[in-house]
Amino acid sequence: MMSVITLQFGQCGNQIGHHLFSVLSQDVLNTNSCYSNESKERWFRNKPDEDKYVARAVLVDTEQKVLTEVRKKNCDIGALWKYDETNIISHNGGGAGNNWAYGHGRKGPQFEEMFMEGVRKEVEKCDRLLATLSLLSSAGGTGSGVGSYLMESYRDEFPTKVLLNALVLPYRSGEVVIQNYNTVLTIANLYDVSDMFVIFENDNLHKMSENLLKNKNTDLHDLNDLIALKIGSLFQPMERSEQSRIHDIICHLIPHPEYKVVTIKSAPHYPKESGVYEASLDWKALVTHMKQTLRVSYLEKEPVFDWETKLPRPTQNLQHSLMQYSPCISNFLVTRGKCESDMKYSLALPLDDNDLYPQWIPKGSRCLHVHQDGRFMDMDKFISLATNNSLVRYSLSNIVEKAWKTYVHKAHLHQYRKFGVGEEDFLESFAKMESVIKSYEELK
């Protein structure tokens, strides 16, 4: 049996982690889903003498408030799962102050021993380790700085294990003043450590919550729920198990080490109280909708509209001459829910089209489709598309642009210098980011 270990860093990572395990437990614990045994083993361990499933997770935070809440929830009698108390690691020394350098240079080393101890213990408890999934945001100091440091330690000890990073990019403005510095340093430093980045953008999630889920008072837990759904839909077990091994997902999605940034598009999302949209949609419409999310404007070749924040429409013809798509390296389509078997094999065809890929990508390695008849989160149909495509450069470039602007004015550099991150380190990180952006830009 194969398992995934989840690493949760910082406030954001720990909040998402809790949502993720809640989604997973809701999906498979106490249900008769056809994949529940495989899934339980993947994310949880369960000793016969224990009343609750135990998440295969290691939690790290520099301050105790979030983890204190986690511990309290751990004691909920009704809950089906809990964290292993000994894997909840926090220090008394205070937070990382939104400063990547402080987190990476000072706080990270303080956690290293306890963290690696927890990880080793978890690895030993797996029959076979499929992958390690880390959850963090890039804006603050703990997830980004301490997280980066600890993942480097992880990589040193487990050089061949698969390491995935689910990275939450902050709102474009208004979360943390120095968020762009922290994001640049995080991605640049992790790029060679990590096997794949799954990027989530708060702005995009916020819009989805407002437009699709009709949450007038959108709060962070709404965004975290979306993230949890997306991660869950990609990594829950699938039918043809030789392709659903996480290792194979990554092999397919990341054919080249320069292109490691993946986003997950998903549908349908609708308000909890209404199931109207769900019923009216067929698989084809959903696949078409997924394809829409890759569109760019014809002239500027820029993203015109975030299609993921729109409702999927019943099947329509996409053969419009002015439709342009952002060039993709690879796509991985997951469909969950009942589907007639003759349809299964043709569903992903629109995502194999020539207009989605640079010429040099051979047909066979464009879009991989896997299916699961079992319902995900008790939904009739759920579709998700993990895509490695050029659109991501706009988000990255936007962040680098802002960070660079601050950098040339030398603002806030003194706080990083204090903890050993000097101008050269910044330049190195900028260079790494620019090279990633350029690679994606050159896809045609």
């Binding site: 406030q11 909040q15 301050e63 105790q64 408030k65 979030v66 204190t68 809440e69 008394n92 020394g93 205070g94 937070g95 102050g97 939104n98 400063n99 402080y102 603050g140 100091g141 709102y171 474009r172 403005s173 208004g174 979360e175 943390v176 003043v177 120095i178 968020q179 762009n180 916020h206 407002e210 949450n215 007038k216 008072n217 959108t218 709060d219 962070l220 837990h221 965004l223 680098v400 642009e401 802002k402 660079w404 602007k405 601050t406 040339v408 004015h409 030398k410 603002a411 806030h412 003194h414 706080q415 330049l427 900028f430 260079a431 620019e434 090279s435 350029k438």
Partner: protein, 475 residues
């Protein structure tokens, strides 16, 4: 959860402290029974778990705090609870209240330091004479307080800059803190004189102390008496529309002014003390708000300005809409300092909300703020930090704190320099300073220079032209 040590120096600092502790206790649902101000029987806020968890932020006990539930001062006395405070005055008048007043059990001799005579409104006297004489004693007090902490995150320093003790000894303590606790934040809330006080030498004291603040504090939240007075009289004249105004009418102006400052501090530290969906730790403030080392002066305001006391409990009209709370928090008239926070260039802004404020409310108000404001060119209007704390102040459903680092801060220093020069041109009272051992005539000129540097630093940013250096090219 984070712990803070409050350092109150001089008469003004201790008066703010005098307002601080009852309000802290009230926030934790402890009945302080100040009959004079309460007309009705105070209604208890049910101390819930979160309040208790946060209790040790400001209090310690040799018996341990966890597991207790405190309701009255007697409970605290029984559990040997003491305040994490260091109260220093070179006169005995105010600190005596801590020794003998109703809170005497919270302050033992290990945290009180007094002396006679005072500093004679002379910064040099406070900084050099007392600073040297009491250096070891003060360090001892600090270390003893720090030893009682598990997670000391910050010192909250309270003093005025106009007099001798607060300004002189207060600023001397900053270096002691920096040398001995380099990683613990030093937040200074200091009172700039309004100009009509009876202290002739206050312009000297202000300039001399400001140099110390510029170099040794993490963040400075200047407060000025004139701004506070104006706020108080405005609140008063707004009539008895709600219970808060009624409360104000019932007590003395200084107490209100101090309460405003205290509410700001309580809100400022709330993110460190209580849980929330977007926590803001105190050490994040400095990293977000101070783009260059010297520019660490931050204009603050909290909305609503006065929290209702437990006597007036939930006053009608206090459950303002989120947008109104935000607007009033960043409005000019509500700043605790006479400065127009949005008129200049904003170097950094922090909005912290407590209580029932959603992320969507926050997003909407970030947009509103960005439309009103000119940000420093490098930031692309993004120099904002936000936080959400889930525990509201007692008696309120929500409140908002705004912190703004603005280029307009230069006006404060310009004003201070002018007053200084007026006096210094005539060399008035200079000899009082020169006769203090350790003080040198150069201290005047150096301090003035340092003041100019800060003023210039801010002024330059007002009209900063954005530099455009092309991004790195990948070959």
């Amino acid at each position: 959860m984070s712990e803070f040590i409050t350092i109150q120096v001089g008469q003004c600092g201790n008066q703010i402290g005098d307002a601080f502790w009852p309000l802290v206790l009230q926030e934790h649902g402890i009945d302080t029974q100040r009959e004079s101000t309460f007309k009705s029987q105070p209604q208890h806020i049910q101390p819930n778990e979160r309040l208790l968890d946060a209790f040790h932020s400001f209090f310690s006990s040799s018996d341990g705090i966890s597991g207790h539930s405190f309701k009255t001062l007697a409970d605290l006395e029984k559990a040997k609870v003491t305040a994490r405070a260091v109260c220093i005055d070179m006169e005995d008048s105010v600190v005596a209240r801590f020794r003998t007043g109703q809170f005497r059990h919270l302050f033992d001799d290990t945290c009180l330091l007094t002396n006679y005579p005072g500093s004679g409104n002379n910064w040099a006297e406070g900084f050099h004479t007392h600073g040297r004489e009491y250096n070891e004693k003060i360090l001892n007090l600090l270390q003893r307080s720090a030893e009682r902490c598990d997670q000391l995150h910050g010192f909250l320093c309270l003093f005025s800059l106009g007099g001798g003790t607060g300004s002189g000894l207060g600023s001397a303590i900053l270096s002691i803190l920096e040398d001995n606790f380099p990683l613990v934040e030093r937040f200074v809330t200091c009172v700039y004189p309004a100009g009509n006080e009876d202290v002739v030498t206050s312009p000297y004291n202000v300039v001399l102390a400001t140099r110390e603040l510029t170099h040794h504090a993490s963040c400075v939240f200047p407060v000025d008496n004139k701004a506070l007075l104006d706020i108080c009289s405005r609140l008063k004249s707004s009539g008895n529309k709600h219970g808060v105004a009624g409360y104000i009418a019932a007590c003395k102006p200084f107490q209100d002014m101090n309460s405003i400052v205290v509410n700001m501090l309580l809100h400022l530290t709330s993110g460190s003390r209580f849980p929330g969906s977007m926590n803001v730790d105190m050490n994040e403030i400095y990293n977000n708000m101070v783009p260059f080392p010297c520019l660490r002066y931050i204009s603050s305001s909290v909305s609503p300005l006065l929290f209702p006391t437990s006597g007036s409990n939930t006053a009608p009209g206090m459950s303002l809409k989120p947008d109104d709370l935000f607007t009033s928090a960043w409005s000019r008239g509500n700043q605790l300092l006479k400065v127009d926070p949005l008129g200049g260039t904003v170097l950094g802004a922090t909005l912290l909300a407590r209580g029932s404020v959603f992320v969507s409310d926050m997003r909407r108000n970030i947009d509103r703020f960005q439309k009103k404001t000119q940000f420093i060119p490098w930031s692309c209007s993004d120099a904002m930090k936000t936080g959400l704390c889930s525990v509201p102040p007692p008696g309120l459903t929500s409140s908002v704190l705004s912190l703004i680092n603005t280029s307009n801060m230069s006006s404060l220093f310009k004003d201070v320099a002018q007053k200084f020069n007026k006096l210094y041109q005539r060399k008035a009272h200079v000899h009082h300073y020169l006769q203090v051992p350790g003080f040198d005539e150069e201290d005047f000129t150096n301090s003035l220079e340092s003041l100019h540097e800060v003023e210039e630093g801010y002024a330059q940013l007002t009209n900063l032209k954005a530099q455009t250096i092309p991004r790195l090219q990948v070959l």
